[in-house]
């Protein structure tokens, strides 16, 4: 697709299968992505939507070949991204993927043109060829008169367009954008959105991670990485558990708030070296698991019955209506 060393991947499909990423955070095992699947045909713009910490950036890092997943596979066309190493990985990062970073990440000492030229210089493209390519991209993004300016002299929107030009310098068939509108006001957002939409043309897959819902109309497909908050009120769900039975696992989407009616529930967190740590033990009358559904997060711990137990699960809305102000973690009597 490019005369600058880019691969001829044609209408490649991006395919993510059973992708799990686990890493250690403060000694605990954190799994921002678990058994994640995605298939994107060429020409589509996919929006990864979700709150901070839901795994958007983790997924982009894995797609870019920067992060090695714990298990699962990523294929882009014929390329098995998850098994790339050495020169093949460098070539993939250099020619197949273009990345637009959240904080622009332009080199402050370089002009806009030089920032765009950098990936070409890295790839061994020199002199006038590199300069012409940089100018072509900057002109196409409406930055012809800003080529010689340093990032500090550009607006946020202009910096982001320079970052887009840099990502496109090898005409990559896979473009990843991490929160491309995070630092832009509504005036600046316009130019960036137009550019991203125009890039999702046949021969290229565009994946945009964001929590900015203004981007929704751009997308051919939206993938929600955070569980939604169920604001509606439903009848409480009563669950009976045997000793040792798991109510929910760490990393699961948070849906209900639970109150212990009978028996005991242990909240445990997986440790990065294996094993678990007991966080808290809950007995009758106490509630747990409210933060995940309240804030749309994944479960940060596993809930397991220590003894035969009965718990009642309520939606956030229903639970709110029953909790007495100042009652701590004890629910009001029903």
């Amino acid at each position: 697709m490019s005369d600058l060393g880019g691969p001829a991947l044609g209408d490649s499909v991006l395919e993510v299968r059973d992708l799990t990423v686990e890493y250690s955070s403060g000694g605990y095992a954190v799994r921002p992505l678990e058994r994640f699947n995605l298939q994107v045909p060429s020409g589509e713009l996919v929006l990864l939507l979700g709150a901070s910490g839901c795994g958007k950036t983790t997924l982009l890092s894995a797609l870019a070949g920067i992060l090695t997943p714990t298990c699962g596979t990523i294929h882009f066309g014929a390329i098995d991204v998850t098994h790339l190493a050495g020169r093949a990985l460098t070539a993939y990062r250099r020619h197949t993927v273009g990345i637009v970073f959240q904080a622009f990440n332009l080199v402050p000492s370089l002009t806009a043109r030089e920032n765009v030229e950098v990936p070409l210089l890295v790839a061994g493209v020199r002199g006038r060829r590199a300069r012409d390519r940089a100018d072509e991209l900057l002109d196409g993004l409406g930055l012809a008169d800003r080529r010689g300016h340093r990032p500090g002299d550009l607006s946020g929107g202009q910096q982001q367009r320079v970052a887009i030009a840099r990502a496109l310098v090898h005409d990559p068939p896979l473009l990843l954008a991490d929160e491309p509108t995070a630092h832009l006001d509504y005036v600046q957002v316009d130019g960036v959105l137009r550019a991203l939409r125009a890039l999702a043309a046949p021969g290229r897959v565009v994946v945009v991670a964001t929590h900015d819902e203004r981007l929704l109309p751009l997308a051919d497909r939206v993938v929600h990485l955070s569980p939604g908050v169920d604001a509606a009120s439903h009848a409480p769900t009563r669950v009976t558990l045997k000793a040792g039975e798991v109510l929910f696992r760490q990393g699961d989407p948070g849906d209900l708030v639970y109150e212990v009616d009978d028996g005991e529930i242990d909240l445990v967190r997986s440790l990065s070296g294996g094993g678990e740590e007991l966080l808290e033990r809950y007995g009758p009358g106490r509630y747990f698991g409210e933060l995940a559904p309240l804030f749309g997060l994944q479960r940060s711990a596993t809930a397991r019955a220590r003894t035969p137990a009965v718990v009642t699960g309520s939606t956030v809305a229903d639970f709110r209506s029953r909790v007495r102000p100042g009652a701590g973690d004890e629910a009001a009597p029903r």
Partner: protein, 348 residues
């Protein structure tokens, strides 16, 4: 990547300039100390060579004519002159004394036989022709025709000699040997050595024959610890220079971690990134070495003794500076290698 390294230096030019100035001062000091050590080593060989002797007879058990206080009869020179192979022999007397009346300073005093070996070759004026006349070191600031006081006695300056200081840069006064005998031994006809020209076929009893090289080695012996101190301080200065360069490069690596992450994420390998950082270290050390050469000249005047910077030092300095720069940048290079490209995905 070299473009980025050079642009970064331009971008941080104020810090770079301060670092160059600080490092160049350190390099200039290393040049001056090298010159000082060289000067101290040279002064002994220079003064000994100035006598034009082929060998020295000193009292037996004496290590050299400039370091021992043993004396011999000045008439021993006549006995030596009769030895086979000896073309000429003259008595020589060395002592330490003071120069000036109101604010005296230490001087080396050398007594020589008028018209004989050991007579000074002044740059200005002439050599003494008889008692009461002196040739003085130009460093003493006395002009020809002036009357000066040496060891409490007055002498007329008839000549000025250059490059005759020794014993850690102490200036020298040349007097006829009779005047020095009057100053040191109340006029007794004594000497500390007999200077000869020719190859003595025998050694008279009670005397030891020394070559020029042995005399020089004897003069340098008391300087050994001083020269070692100079060498040690020089090593410390190289370390300080390495510290400055290393800190600057490491700081640059720390501050540019995000840039490195972005470049790695976009397919840059470690090699070009490291080459860029190493180039910064090289530019810093090279520029510092160049400024140091310029700075050394005016600083040289502040030293109390002769600074003789060897020509080789100007070649060695940039080479060692480059090596120091590269070694000092290792921590920064290591830091750059360890930058995780995933860092590029972080927020502002």
């Amino acid at each position: 990547m070299l473009l980025i390294a050079l642009r970064d230096l331009q971008w941080r030019r104020r810090r770079f300039s301060i670092a160059v100035l600080a490092t160049s001062l350190v390099f200039a000091l290393t040049l001056l100390l090298t010159g000082a050590g060289n000067g101290l080593r040279n002064e002994a060989s220079r003064i000994v060579a100035s006598f034009g002797a082929d060998a020295w007879f000193v009292p037996e058990g004496t290590s050299g004519p400039f370091t021992a206080s043993s004396v011999l009869a000045a008439s021993a020179a006549d006995e030596v002159s009769r030895l086979d192979g000896v073309e000429r022999a003259d008595p020589f007397l060395f002592m330490r004394s003071t120069f000036g009346a109101s604010d005296p300073i230490d001087v080396n005093v050398i007594g020589f036989r008028v018209g004989g070996l050991g007579a000074p070759r002044p740059e200005a004026g002439r050599a003494p022709r008889g008692p009461g006349e002196a040739v003085v070191d130009v460093g003493l600031g006395a002009d020809v025709g002036e009357t000066v006081e040496v060891g409490g006695s007055r002498f007329q300056v008839v000549g000025e000699a250059d490059g005759v200081s020794f014993n850690f840069g102490v200036a020298t006064v040349f007097l006829p040997i009779e005047d020095v005998q009057a100053l040191a031994f109340d006029g007794q006809s004594l000497a500390t050595a007999v200077i000869i020209r020719g190859q003595a076929g025998a050694t008279p009893e009670g005397l030891t024959l020394l070559t020029d090289a042995e005399v020089v080695a004897d003069m340098r012996r008391p300087m050994t610890s001083g020269l070692q101190t100079i060498d040690f301080i020089n090593s410390l200065l190289w370390l300080i220079a390495a510290g400055i360069i290393g800190s600057i490069v490491y700081l640059s690596a720390l501050e540019r971690a995000r840039d490195f992450a972005v470049m790695k994420a976009t397919g840059a390998s470690n090699g070009p990134l490291l080459a860029g950082l190493a180039l910064q270290a090289l530019v810093l050390s090279g520029a510092s070495a160049a400024v140091a050469v310029v700075l050394a000249r005016p600083l040289e005047a502040g030293f109390p003794f002769s600074i003789e910077i060897p020509g080789s030092a100007y070649v060695v300095l940039p080479l060692v500076a480059v090596a120091v720069g590269l070694i000092a940048s290792l921590a920064g290079l290591r830091r750059a290698v360890r930058v995780d490209p995933a860092l590029a995905f972080g927020g502002a």
